[in-house]
Amino acid sequence: MTYKNLIANVNTVVIKLWLVISLSLFSEATLANEEDNQAKLTAAFIYQITKFVKWPSIVQNVETQTISLCLLGDFKSSTLRHFQLLENKVSQGKKIKLNVITSSIAKRENIRCEIFFAQQSEWQNYTANELEALSKQSLLIGSTREFLQNGGMMSLVLVKNKMKIFFNADVIAKTTIKIESRLKALATML
């Protein structure tokens, strides 16, 4: 191997390494960007959904006139930032109150919220029966179709950069929450 060949091989390796590093960095950045966009859209959709849903009075926090939005699990600060923007926003004359807790605490302390939102990994901590019980009086929102297949109520899924609303018809039929038909008409029933 000549010195020239050695230099050429080194260069090739360096270039390849640079390419690999660049690609990995780019993909990470893209992924982070997608997550951020999805969180932003999800927060916005949840806020808009609150305008077309009515909760039974026993659930609604009559005293404080608020709608509680409980985020289950750990959220990145960049994600949480978008949800925090909903804090104190008004929907149907009520202020939105944000709670960020873990599912274990929620279950243990039997916390009642008008809306529960969690990632799929967090919803996996709930059994089908637990989800059914919880969905009687609360709007359960996930981010995947699997969530619905496991007994979830509503999912906000990003399809081709557009947020789509999916409903589980069976769960919707059993809940005491009144979801306006015009919202249902816009959503996809599974």
């Binding site: 305008k51 077309f52 929907s91 004359g93 947020m163 015009r182 008409a185 816009l186």
Partner: protein
């Protein structure tokens, strides 16, 4: 057309037309009202339905607006597919308070929504087209708008159908009313036709003793009773009229005789009047001639008087001269003529001859002047006259009349004024005016003044004759020129002087004369006549 219809004479046709016209009018009004009502309701329903549908759609579009879901909005707008009248619909989302197009629906043609969609907030149909915009509310907040463009063909269709149905109904009703009218008019008009037959018979036969019987038992029965009463009255009046006509005929006959008699009398009266008028005219002419002769007589008297003096002086002078000559003759025979005596004789003879010659010449001049005036007064021939000299000659001829009074006559006249006139007529005018002043105006006045002012221009001679005598009242002044008007009736006044002056000026000299006067302020004549300057 309508006027021709109104000229139809038959009552039954009029009745038929009246019923049909009324029916048509009533049906037209009712149909128009019904059509208007139906059309308004239909239109209102369309508007309300469109508004309701659009509000429902706006309600359902709220989630799509909320989630900025264009596909969802377009899918919702597809609901318009079943509404045939919707040609276009578009959904707007409010971005920074301005509507921005989110989704739209077009039935067939591409319709471009207007920029001012917010102005179509009222559901109002105009020419079958309706543009309507309603807000999309989300949680008590307007988040967008939906605009709809609709073409309601069904409105035109409905109107056409309604008109056809209403027209057919009207036609059917008209035909029915016509049939009923024809049927009933025969029943209704039967007594009337009967009555017409009776009246024609009465009119033809002039038999007013006829009476109607058996004309129904309704209003026509009352009419027949009234008709019978009228016949009675006509019969009575007819008789009375016949009597009056006979009387009038007799009166007419006697009246004709009376008229003939009166006409004859009038003709006789007219003949008498014509004769009297003729005599009067002759008398007037005679009086005028007398007046002229009196004037001439006066002239002759004046001439005699004026000539008498110079002739007397002439005779005296001549007698003195004869005496002087006889004395000279005696002295000559006796041879006693001295130089002094001869000188004295020559002087006296010369003086006497001069006096005689002067007075004879004066007499000759007077005769010459008077001869001309006399000739003028007895003829109507025209000649050149120096007005100033001629007036003075006339005044001189009147001096015997003035001699017994202290009246003065002043003449102001252009010495060179010579005109061709009928001198005799002019002399008569001046003579009569002066004589009237002396006889009438200066009655009881010792010192009267007469002014005769003569002026002239290219065509006319104007004379102002003025005295300061008694004057006249207006009532008397109006009659001044009338024939036979005089204030000296039975005192020598003929009443023809002023009339003669008027006739001479107006007819003989083709001029004009007017007079103005006030009581005790004298009388003024304004005379004007055309001149022919030599």
């Amino acid at each position: 057309m309508i006027l021709n219809l109104l000229k139809i004479k038959l009552f039954k046709t009029k009745l038929l037309l009246l019923i049909i016209t009324i029916s048509f009018g009533v049906l037209l009004i009712a149909s128009s009202g019904l059509f208007w009502l139906l059309n308004s309701n239909f239109k209102s329903n369309l508007e309300n339905n469109a508004l309701t549908n659009l509000n429902i759609l706006a309600y359902n579009l709220a989630p799509a607006i909320s989630f900025d879901d264009k596909d969802g909005a377009e899918e919702t707008l597809q609901a318009f597919a079943i509404l045939k009248h919707v040609a276009h619909a578009s959904v707007y989302i409010l971005e920074q308070k301005k509507p921005s197009l989110l989704a739209f629906y077009n039935r067939s043609d591409i319709h471009v929504p207007p920029n001012n969609i917010l102005t179509f907030s009222d559901a109002k149909l105009t020419d079958n087209v309706m543009q309507l915009t309603v807000p999309i509310w989300v949680d008590n907040e307007i988040r967008g708008y939906i605009y709809q463009y609709s073409v309601f063909q069904e409105l035109s269709r409905f109107q056409r159908q309604t008109i056809i149905i209403v027209s057919i109904t009207m036609l059917a009703c008209l035909v029915l009313s016509a049939l009923i009218s024809i049927k009933f008019q025969k029943i209704l008009l039967r007594p009337l036709i009967k009555l017409i037959g009776y009246t024609e018979t009465i009119s033809k036969n002039k038999d007013y003793s006829f009476r109607l019987k058996g004309i129904g038992n309704d209003e026509f029965s009352l009419l027949s009773l009234s008709f019978n009463k009228m016949l009675e009255e006509i019969e009575r009046r007819h008789e009375k009229q016949k009597n009056i006509e006979n009387e009038i005929r007799e009166l007419n006959l006697s009246l004709e005789d009376n008229v003939q008699q009166r006409t004859q009398e009038l003709a006789t009266s007219n003949e008498d009047l014509r004769l009297a008028l003729s005599i009067l005219e002759q008398s007037q002419q005679q009086l005028v001639e007398n007046e002229k002769m009196a004037s001439l007589g006066s002239l002759v008297a004046g001439v005699a008087h004026e000539i008498n003096t110079p002739l007397g002086i002439g005779v005296t002078s001549n007698s003195l001269l004869i005496e002087l000559i006889e004395e000279l003759d005696v002295k000559f025979i006796n041879n006693k003529i001295s130089e002094g005596y001869l000188r004295n004789f020559i002087d006296k003879s010369k003086e006497s001859a001069d006096i005689c010659s002067f007075n004879l010449t004066r007499a000759a001049e007077l005769i010459s002047g008077f001869k001309q005036i006399a000739v003028d007064q007895s003829s109507d021939s025209e000649r050149a006259v120096n007005i100033a000299d001629y007036i003075n000659e006339i005044i001189t001829s009147l001096k015997p009349k003035l001699k017994r009074s202290q009246h003065s006559i002043n003449v102001e006249c252009d010495k060179e004024l010579t005109v061709i006139i009928k001198a005799g007529l002019f002399a008569q005018v001046i003579t009569n005016l002066v004589m009237n002043s002396i006889l009438h105006a200066f009655e009881g006045i010792e010192f009267g003044d007469i002014k005769i002012i003569v002026t002239h221009n290219d065509k006319y001679v104007q004379i102002i004759y003025q005295d300061n005598g008694l004057g006249m009242e207006q009532s008397a002044l109006k009659k001044l020129f009338e024939p036979f008007y005089t204030t000296k009736r039975l005192q020598g006044g003929s009443g023809l002087g002023a009339h003669l002056v008027y006739n001479i000026i107006t007819q003989g000299l083709n001029g004009t004369i007017t007079a103005t006067s006030k009581l005790n302020s004298g009388l003024v004549y304004h005379i004007s006549f055309p001149k022919n300057v030599t």
